[in-house]
Amino acid sequence: MLWIKNAHLLDPVNRISGRGSLLVRGGRIVKVVVGEELTAAAVLALLGCSDLAEVSVVDGAGKYLFPGLIDAHVHLREPGQEEKEEIKSGARAAARGGFTSILAMANTRPVIDTRALVEYVRLQGERAGKARVYPVAAVTKGLAGQELTEMVDLKAGGAVAFSDDGKGIQSAEVMRLALEYAKLTGCPVISHCEDENLAGAGVIRKGETSARLGLRGIPASAESVMVARDALLAKETGGRLHLAHISTKESVRVIRAAKEAGIDLTAEVNPHHLIFADEDVPLTGTSYKVNPPLPSREDQAALLEGLLDGTIDLLATDHAPHTWEEKAKPFAEAPFGINGLETALAAVWQELVAKGKLKPERLIELWAVNPARRFGLPGGTLAEGALADLVLFDPEWREVVTAETRESKSHNTPFLGKELQGFPVMVWVGGKLVVKDRKVLP
């Protein structure tokens, strides 16, 4: 049993915002009280317990208590590339970053395109016993973009969405069929919007920075033309579409228009696209190399506007671990991807929330409430009776990001060696304490 007191409770769904107490029993939230102090006797009565020694009491003074965040876009690399990340290390990194649930993408080796593999990912997540791991299964066999996977069986094995993320589905007809067939499952199809002809051999956003650095540019249209295509296909099929890692102002415009037209689509933005721009990329800074590439400042403004006006529904890390050796190469040769789970929340807090650009309530909507709704997951709420997936967040906690303190097996983040402010200090999953004083418990 657990009594968290004096924390600033925050739950936009149930309009909870204020100092109070939260009680947990049997892995679920049993009582939320805001605006009044509970006596020990009252707590015991509410928990149906006779001795306060049986209750863990946490003083959350000066801290926020959120629903655990849900990250809809994570690459865990297992099976096949365990040198970069494992399900266990990824689930631990997630917890340390404030995420109590994560969606694991299917572009592993082998690709998660059969029920046995979906179940493997789910079970490995359960064995890790930290953040909940929900498998995303492939849309097409082997991510080849041709034949659909057995979506119904995959869902039965635990898949919560379908995606060929890592690669865009180049054939419009295959995407159309996927949106149609996925209706059998009720699960969204997550689209990685990238037209490979337009992206070509590009490694950074096409613009003055790509020209200055002599790096091949990826035009913004490589993403936005496919966003438009998929929005139209979702309209035509009535399928459920979720757009991964949106990074251009044109995409935001298309999504806004699509929502006005009543199309069933949602979209996510990655923190790095909000924080870093193409002009920030150093020629040897391969930790900034990511796909879609870092956008222009104008794009960033449009992305933030979309986050605030509801055009964009989710924040998601696109956690993409890569080893040091792979990144220690000339820019064009290094793989795409930024390692995000352990820094994303702190970075967004420091750069957007602390600067008044994003309200804490909206952050919770974007990173807990909306992903839970879109993918049909528990969590994202402090409602009584809900799973006790909780984050105690200290906005004052400062920490230098170092390889030694991290849980992820890789450290490919532009924040390595830098200080961030605002971190989760305690995290519970189903009422079980998994992070204490910034350390993931064994």
Binding site: K206, A211, R212, G214, L215, R216, E325, K329, P330, A332
Partner: protein, 312 residues
């Protein structure tokens, strides 16, 4: 002037005065090249490695000749012979060079930023012999030397650079340096090879060569990679040559004495007509000679002008 750079990665890293200093130092070096006995003991005992990940007979030979005249020992790592082919990373190759206590490394690599990457790993100095589409500072220096020699100076001179600007490290380094030296630069090419983002260079850009030629003191044609046609960047050599190829007749439009430069190797009949390439206006061969002189100057300065600085 005291030389303060351990590396030469980008012309942008040099001030106008430093560029002039290299060019001044190259003058006596060029005299040396005309002597019957072309060997100096200046850098005896110094070691230099040439790492060429891209084929380049011209630049590699130029560096090799320059170093040998100055008496340095030169080791050539070319991709075909080295362990690079066995999958060794640039990082590990750098570690190997470091262990060999080499004093100066020249790298030519297809990846933009490869020279900067190597410089981060090495205590030895690094000269960028051309990295991807990013920079080619020694080519720019030899072009400046040639232009100064022929035009008497660079301030106020009009230099037209024509061709595949987008993919050209030569164009980038030339523009950045020529701006510092006070020249007026105009970039010319078709829109597919001169997209709007090249505006970052801060010089005039144009799609019309004939309109830009009047008053040009020098025209630099860039090598056209013919495989760009397969990527759809230009429709045919025929149309390219018609619009952007240099010919004697077209050069007449400058209405003054104009010199023609080309970083080589030339595609005769594509970016430059054969008879023009071999004419008196052409300084293409002179560029090659000057390349050795300028590289001698640079190696000399970077090796501490014959001091006993030790790489450890």
């Amino acid at each position: 002037m005291e030389w303060r750079h351990r590396n030469l990665l980008d012309i942008q890293d040099l001030t106008a005065a430093e560029i002039e200093f290299v060019l001044q130092t190259a003058l006596p070096m060029k005299d040396l090249l005309t002597r019957p006995l072309k060997k100096l003991p200046t850098l005896r005992g110094k070691s230099m490695a040439l790492m060429f990940y891209e084929n380049s007979t011209r630049t590699r030979t130029s560096f090799e000749t320059a170093a040998k005249i100055l008496g340095a020992d030169v080791t050539i790592f070319s991709v075909a012979q080295s362990s690079v082919n066995k999958g060794e990373s640039l990082y590990d190759t750098a570690k190997t060079l470091q262990a060999m206590k080499i004093d100066l490394v020249v790298i030519r690599h297809a990846g933009s930023g490869a020279a900067a990457f190597l410089a981060q790993q090495l205590k030895a100095g690094v000269i960028n012999g051309g990295d991807g589409e990013h920079a080619h500072p020694t080519q720019a220096l030899l072009d400046f030397f040639t232009l100064k020699e022929k035009l008497g100076g660079l301030a106020g001179k009009k230099i037209v650079i024509v061709g595949d600007i987008l993919h050209s490290r030569v164009a980038r380094s030339n523009v950045l340096g020529l701006k510092k030296l006070g020249a007026e630069v105009v970039l010319v090419g078709p829109p597919t090879l001169l997209p709007p983002e090249m505006g970052y260079l801060g010089v005039k850009t144009s799609y019309d060569l004939d309109r830009e030629l009047p008053g040009a003191d020098a025209v630099m044609a860039l090598r056209l990679q013919l495989e760009r046609q397969a990527r759809g960047l230009f429709p045919s050599v025929r149309e390219y040559h018609r619009l952007y190829g240099l010919t004697k007749e077209r050069l007449g439009k400058t209405v003054k004495e104009t010199i023609v430069l080309h970083p080589g190797p030339i595609n005769r009949g594509v970016e430059i007509a054969s008879d023009l390439a071999d004419s008196a206006c052409s300084v293409i061969e002179e560029q090659v000679t000057n390349g050795v002189a300028v590289r001698m100057a640079l190696i000399y300065l970077m090796m501490g002008g014959g001091s006993s600085r030790v790489v450890d």
